[in-house]
């Protein structure tokens, strides 16, 4: 799709969703660096792998801990966090440091477009409007 390959951490407690996402990322030319279904596991993996992007579900094996995972991972300067959730209304106002949300149920197209958009932002180019199906965090909306 785009030339930029991203190293992506998948934080998702539903095994089938995580596996399919992994296949999709590879197909789109990105590099999945791991799958975590538990918050502690996700934070540890993030620290070890230092991914470019973390796709984080809000609801994990140990509860709605995706928020805490997003806070921890987005504190790493090299990691951009995107939530993947069916319930964006439960997110804190500041998106817990995440750049945006991919609304579930998402299509392959939206995931591809979202990652291409993030890749563009990370390269410092004019990102333009985010793809439909992706909602940016309030502070990013103001900047773009």
């Amino acid at each position: 799709m785009t030339g930029t390959s991203l190293r992506v951490l998948i934080v998702e407690d539903e095994a089938f969703i995580a596996l399919e996402l992994e296949c999709l990322l590879e197909e789109a030319g990105h590099v999945p660096v791991g799958i975590a279904g538990h918050s502690a596991q996700a934070i540890a993996l993030g620290r070890d792998q230092r991914p470019d992007v973390a796709l984080v579900d809000v609801h994990l094996v140990d509860g709605p801990t995706g928020i805490a995972v997003a806070r921890a991972l987005s504190a790493q300067p090299e990691t951009t966090v995107l939530f993947t959730t069916a319930n964006a209304k439960r997110l804190p106002e500041d998106f817990a440091g995440a750049a945006g949300v991919i609304a579930k149920p998402y299509s392959e197209r939206v995931v591809r477009a979202a990652l291409a958009y993030i890749a563009g932002r990370r390269q410092g180019g004019d990102p333009g409007a985010p793809p439909d199906g992706v909602t940016l965090a309030p502070d990013l909306q103001n900047r773009s």
């Binding site: 596996l19 319930n87 197209r109």
Partner: protein, 405 residues
């Protein structure tokens, strides 16, 4: 009635009075207080004619059923110099027991000190005052006294006496208290019910969110499952069938995402769906070969019809995209929906190969599915040969509330 001479001679007040008698205040005095008006009138004397207007007033006060009392403002501590029989009946004291005393003997343990202070202040300023005060009878039982106290001026502009009319308002007070209690109870009841309703509503909202979340998540799981299986399937036809199913699930997933993301969970906007679906469909097309145009009115459809309608749009559009342009044939596909007064029309047209090849294609399931959904929606569908191309035209009656939206 009673003559002045008799009054003066039998003045019991004189015995009780702490200070010298005040002739000016003596007019209403009488020994007969407390015995009621019957005795006074039973004397057979014509009061008005014999004693002049002051005696008439005194007789009127005695006869009144309103409890009344007069104090002497010129004596220390304002002793009572007159109390009518109605006052005696109300308080249980005989006239002899009250004459010469200050009115404060009516006070008791639960008398409001504030009310007493207001009376005292008015008396010291020589002003009239009205208060509701809890007083006590001779036997100790309390009653609510709505008292109106008025200064009585003398010829020199000073104050000769204070004249009080008492009204037993215990009944009213009790009724007021009962009413206030009933009102408080009612308010509490209403508050309680409002809280219960709010709690039920909150719970319902939470449940709706939870169910919504689960539906969306499960659709993502189902879609992932089918796609995973498709990825691992070697047979091309089988893989194609699985991908088609994943796309249908995707269309349903889009419906659910749109249904609950906007405020109204009962409505579904066909235009929002078409835009979203169109983007997904176009992502899989070579834009130089097949051009997709979408022109859909904002049509609010009830939630119950959202899924079949979305599925129908999906089937008609994918059918055109997949089968109207075999080989490297180029062309365009248009999705147009219009809202009429009581119906909507949906047209999916292409300029590809005509109807003929469609019938023989392996996507026969798609056509069968369209037929089922059209029946479910109680619509009518017509295929039209555009030579070149095909147009599928659906007419769908709108419900009263859909048409009004």
């Amino acid at each position: 009635m009673i003559g002045r001479g008799r009054m003066a001679g039998a003045d019991r007040l004189g015995e009780n009075r702490p200070g010298p008698a005040d002739p000016g205040a003596s007019a209403p005095r009488d020994r007969a207080e407390g015995r009621g008006p019957a005795r006074s009138t039973g004397g057979g004397v014509d009061p008005a004619g014999a004693a002049g207007p002051e005696a008439v007033f005194a007789a009127a006060f005695r006869a009144s059923t309103s409890p009344m009392v007069l104090t002497d403002a010129r004596q220390p501590d304002h002793p009572i110099v007159f109390a009518n029989p109605a006052f005696c009946r109300l308080t249980g004291y005989s006239a002899a027991e009250v004459l010469g005393r200050n009115c404060r003997f009516l006070q008791g343990p639960d008398t409001d000190r504030g009310a007493v202070a207001r009376v005292r202040a008015a008396v010291s300023r020589g002003e009239p005052v009205s208060v509701d005060v809890l007083n006590y009878r001779r036997d100790g039982t309390p009653f609510w006294n709505a008292m109106a106290l008025n200064p009585v001026p003398d010829a020199a502009g000073g104050i000769r006496s204070f004249f009080a009319v008492l009204t037993d308002v215990s009944g009213t007070r009790q009724a007021e208290r009962a009413l206030a209690r009933a009102r408080d109870d009612l308010e509490q009841d209403v508050d309680g019910r409002a809280r219960a309703l709010q709690a039920a509503l909150d719970q319902q909202t939470a449940l709706l969110h939870e169910v919504d979340h689960r539906v969306k998540n499960n659709l993502q799981v189902i879609s992932s499952l089918v796609l995973l299986k498709a990825r691992r399937t070697r047979d091309a036809a089988c893989r194609e069938a699985l991908n088609s199913m994943a796309e249908r699930i995707g269309a349903l997933a889009t419906v659910h995402r749109l249904l609950y993301s906007v405020g109204d969970v009962n409505r579904f906007n066909l235009r929002d769906f078409a835009a979203d679906f169109g983007a997904d469909l176009a992502a899989g097309l070579d834009p130089d070969r097949i051009r997709l145009t979408i022109d859909v009115d904002a049509i609010a459809v009830s939630a119950s019809r959202a899924a079949p309608l979305a599925l129908l749009v999906h089937e008609l559009a994918t059918n055109a995209v997949r089968h109207a342009f075999p080989g490297e044939r180029r062309g365009r596909v248009a999705i147009v929906a219009r809202r009429r007064a009581d119906a909507m029309t949906l047209e999916v047209s292409d300029d590809g190969v005509g109807l003929g090849p469609h019938d023989a294609n392996p996507e026969g399931f798609g056509r069968a599915l369209v037929g089922m959904v059209v029946r479910q929606l109680r619509g009518s569908l017509a295929w039209e040969d555009l030579a070149p191309g095909t147009r599928a035209r659906l007419v769908l009656p709108l419900d009263a509330d859909e048409a009004g939206a």
